[in-house]
Amino acid sequence: MNPLRTLSVNGQVALLFVVLFGVLVLVSLGVLVLSLRASGQTLSEAQRDRQQRLLRDLRAMWLGSTVFWLAWVSGPLGATLAFSLFSFFALREFITLVKTRRGDHRSLLLAFFGALPLQYLLVGTRAFDLFTVFVPVYVFLAIPVASALAGDPERFLERNAKIQWGIMVCVYGLSHAPALLLLQLPAYADRGAFLLFFLVMATAAAQIAQELASRWLRRRPLARQIDRSFSWRAWLIGLWSAAAVGAALFWITPVDPGRAAVMAAVAGGCGTLGELVMRALKKDAGVRFWGNRSSVTGAVGLLDRVAPLCFAAPVFFHFVRWYLV
């Protein structure tokens, strides 16, 4: 019998975190050693750039893992609070970069202080039926009503679309991450952390593999204006990598390797496509990445990190419920 199966659920989850933080410590130590070794040499601009990006990514991973862990140990309340903060910051960043008008003030207040907390309240209380329809049904009506009452007809549709979209991505999409954490599947109770971990691993694998593949393949980009490296082949490689990672991680899911691979492929494929969409959006807003230092905001680039998750999580959540229940 598998020794892992003999552990209690909590023991298994604890083991997951030990492994996760262990890997992070190892990677950080590796980076530290490398930077110590390189400290004698003078670095070229590109090298320094790469090093800084690596450090930033590493810091983001530490932060993400810590939040993940805190979300787990503090239960439904903590998970909901942690992710609602993420949502808040992501939406703040999004709204900063899409231009809004003065007439949008009330709708924005409704989005930040109405839709966002309510959506997370629904997650926290596990009211999943209302949770899936709350934003697309009720908020969808409430926001344009508030806008119309503000009495500014100029570019009405565009302004409302921007706010709706921001809510959809930053609130609705991201709120599915704690929802996975809190999801109680039959015969899989209290193991939501595994599902969230599985989702994050799958999207990350797809992202990294696609990035490497597109560098290595150098195919003609599909949509040059939006992304210079996106091609179907690279995307498929990302998809297959996610599937492979998913199959390898099948033991933390309630299903067999084949089905785990399908689940991971769905998550990974959606995540990378979501990234492409986010890139188009950034091009439209006129920034290279959200944390662009020279832009008006001084934003920290949180959206960049969570965008694939925002797009993958709702699809994954729905897929899991439909596929596994």
Binding site: I95, F112, A299
Partner: protein, 206 residues
């Protein structure tokens, strides 16, 4: 820690939560020396933003200017401006016997740092209006005090005129290169130069 200190920390925390209140020190480092910060004025939040963007240890000696009639009208407002922000009160109506700059002069003589909005009123046209002459007189009287231009960006979107609840939108405060009064410089010339320095601190739009 007193109640006023806690209130200050709370306000700075809220300002950061809502706007980020990031200070970008482009033209000079944050330093504990006597300074006059002067900035564009678009919203009621401007002072809190600059104050929150400063490192905490500099906040205690950095004082805003407040209109006496408005900011001492209730006990809470008085407490807020006196205990928390240590504001310099000025009279809005000009009276013959008192120089309106006199309280500011006294504060500067005491070694405090001031934050002033030389436009006098809030403007919402994007570009700041012409500067009032107070800045010039202070520069003339205190040549040893550094004059730092600052541009507060995006704050008009956070709380447009007539609204009371702020919307979370990221704002930055960019501090520019210190300015000096040239020997023999004309008042208008200096004020225009000061206004240009504030505009120059505006972050480039991507």
């Amino acid at each position: 820690m007193s109640r006023a200190d806690l209130m200050g920390l709370l306000l700075a925390f809220i300002a950061r939560l809502i706007t980020g209140a990031q200070g970008h020190w482009k033209g000079c480092p944050p330093k504990a020396e006597q300074r006059i910060y002067f900035a564009n004025h678009q919203s009621h939040l401007d002072w809190v933003l600059i104050w929150a963007a400063l490192p905490r240890e500099l906040r205690a000696r950095t004082r805003p200017i407040a209109a006496r009639d408005y900011w001492t009208s209730t006990p809470f407002k008085t407490w807020l401006t006196t205990a928390v922000f240590n504001a310099v009160y000025v009279a809005r109506q000009r009276s013959d016997e008192q120089d309106p700059l006199e309280p500011l002069v006294r504060a500067l003589e005491g070694g405090d740092t001031l934050v002033i909005f030389p436009e006098g009123t809030r403007s919402n046209r994007g570009e700041p209006q012409a500067f009032k002459s107070g800045l010039f007189h202070l520069a003339e009287m205190f040549p040893g005090v550094q004059l730092i231009p600052a541009w507060i960006d995006n704050v008009q979107r956070v709380m447009p005129k007539g609204e009371v609840v702020p919307v979370p939108i990221l704002c930055t405060v960019t501090f520019g290169t210190p300015l000096n009064l040239q020997p023999g410089e004309d008042k208008r010339e200096f004020l225009d130069r000061a206004r240009a320095a504030v505009l120059a601190a505006r972050p480039g739009r991507a």
